[in-house]
């Protein structure tokens, strides 16, 4: 099944109201989209527009909130930390997901089914349960601390540090990387590898020169997805991190709940949104992101 593309249909199909196969398209069906569109406009687009608007007007009109971000001594540090964390989490997740997704393309359908379930289980498992699990593992005297103590390295308490947040985030994000990687790798013709080896290339070289470049679009879309999701992730840093080493989502939340500073929070949110859209724009030239959702919900 092909992924739904976001590109517009050819103009001819639109103007004469006929489908590509010449089937008459019912114009009436167009009204079906109205309720959901209205809901999203009122409860999604308007709130987003409103918070962006407030970042320029609340408390006073102008770029005050943005200049404050630059010189409040916290925002820039936190923003940098968040970007670096998201890049590291993205890279680690991809490195771990790559062999798994690759193996999925080479096993029997039966094994592949099992491997898919193993990926989808955490994808759909309660986010709170998974974060609570990491809380226990990373706490003082938790399994990770104990394991390191056993080999003579004491006091590895990840809880309350950016490192702890990143470790948990990598595990939480794995399904988001495996799914686009697999859907990309599925389309690579394995015979190309055979061809390369039969022409005398060693296996690793055939992989590095033939397979890896072909899988790059999938790698890029997986990386971008993880990067974007990590940027806006609130629960994991809020539970496993600390205010001293906070990430942007925590900063946004504190500004809103403790200070009711919607202008300042809006400015941070707008920056986050801008980075997200920029990343999406860059990657959309190479890959299709919507296929991940599709994979996750169609269970294929």
């Amino acid at each position: 099944m092909s992924a739904p593309t976001t590109s517009a249909p050819p103009p001819a199909a639109v103007t004469n109201g006929a489908g590509l196969a010449g089937r008459p398209r019912r114009r009436a069906a167009g009204w079906f989209i109205l309720p959901a569109t209205a809901l999203l406009l009122v409860f999604f687009c308007y709130p987003l527009g409103n918070i962006i608007w407030r970042s320029f007007t609340d408390p006073s009109a102008g770029l005050g909130n943005y200049t404050k971000l630059l010189d409040d001594g916290v925002s820039v540090t936190v923003l940098t930390r968040t970007l670096v964390t998201a890049l590291i989490v993205g890279a680690c997740t991809l490195v771990i997901a790559y062999p798994y997704a690759y193996a999925m393309t080479r096993v029997t359908p039966r094994t592949r089914n099992l491997m898919t379930v193993v990926v989808l289980l955490p994808f759909w498992t309660s986010m709170m349960a998974r974060n609570f699990a990491w809380y226990m593992l990373e706490q003082r005297g938790g399994l990770i601390d104990d394991a390191f103590s056993a080999i003579g390295i004491g006091g590895v308490v990840l809880l309350g540090s950016v490192a702890g947040v990143a470790v948990a985030m990598v595990q939480v994000m794995l399904p988001f990387a495996v799914l686009p990687l697999y859907s990309g790798m599925e389309g690579i013709d394995k015979r190309l590898l055979d061809a390369a080896t039969s022409l005398g290339a060693p296996r690793w070289r055939a992989f590095a020169r033939v397979y890896l470049p072909l899988s790059l679009p999938a790698v890029l879309s997986g990386f971008t997805l993880v990067f974007i999701l990590t940027l806006g992730f609130y629960v994991t840093p809020a539970l496993l991190g600390s205010p001293q080493q906070s990430l942007v989502p925590q900063l946004i939340a504190t500004r809103v709940t403790d200070l009711l500073d919607f202008g300042g929070a809006g400015a941070l949110g707008t920056v986050l949104l801008a980075i997200t859209l920029l990343a999406l724009f860059v990657v959309s030239r190479f890959a299709n992101l919507s296929s991940t959702t599709e994979k996750a919900v169609t269970n294929e």
Partner: protein, 274 residues
Amino acid sequence: MSESALKPGVRAGRDGGLGWGLKIVVGLIGLLLIAPTAVVIPMSFSSGTTFQFPPEGWSLRWYESFFTSERWMRSLLTSVQIGLLVAVTATVLGVAVAFGLNRAGFRGRGAIRSLMLAPLIVPSIVVAVAIYGVFLKWQLNGTALGYVVAHTVMALPFVVTVMSTSLAGYDRTLDTAAATLGATAWTTFFRITVPLVAPGVLSGFVFAFVMSLDEVVIALFLQTPDIQTLPVQMYNSITLEIDPTIAAASSLMVVATSIVLLMPQFVRRKRSTS
């Protein structure tokens, strides 16, 4: 054609393709995907009052606490109620959108499709704060309507995607065939269309429900002392109080979602073997 041409190659690659090294790596990654979450299950049988793991003794006290605590039970009930309302609303709206996008030709279909997926792309903290901001003004905070509307926004992308996929595989000539055989539009709809799209609708419904049941960021902002969802209660039981009841709640959630997810696998297998 390419499928059958590839098959021998895949078979041959089964032994040569996955070396032992890769097999071990894959096994470890599988373990990394599953094992960390599984620790909540032994934790839930702890007899201690802290989050100490592994537990020093065993008991069922946290399950008892979960099922007898008024606060936990109320949050579970709230979550299930909101989840069902969200599932119904999102399914109705999402199925309609998918039909509209699939069957009608109009300008801007690509834009509508992007709009439907947008809630997944925009950073969740930004969505939460934005919705919180306007809900304060509209006095929707801590109301069932507020939760349902916000969660429906977040569930729509799943329903629309799963339904679009389902409709993309729908062979429209079946409708024509029914019509040529003398079926009325209604008969065609109920006897042909409904059975064909039912699995897609059902999975859309389940995904919307699970999504709402699990959503925590928006729910954290919309919470009031009177109305809290289960994930929010879980969150508070880690941050505000150290209450191991969360281990029992987590285990129940993990088991429940696993059953829902594994069910189609078993049904499919049974169907294919019988």
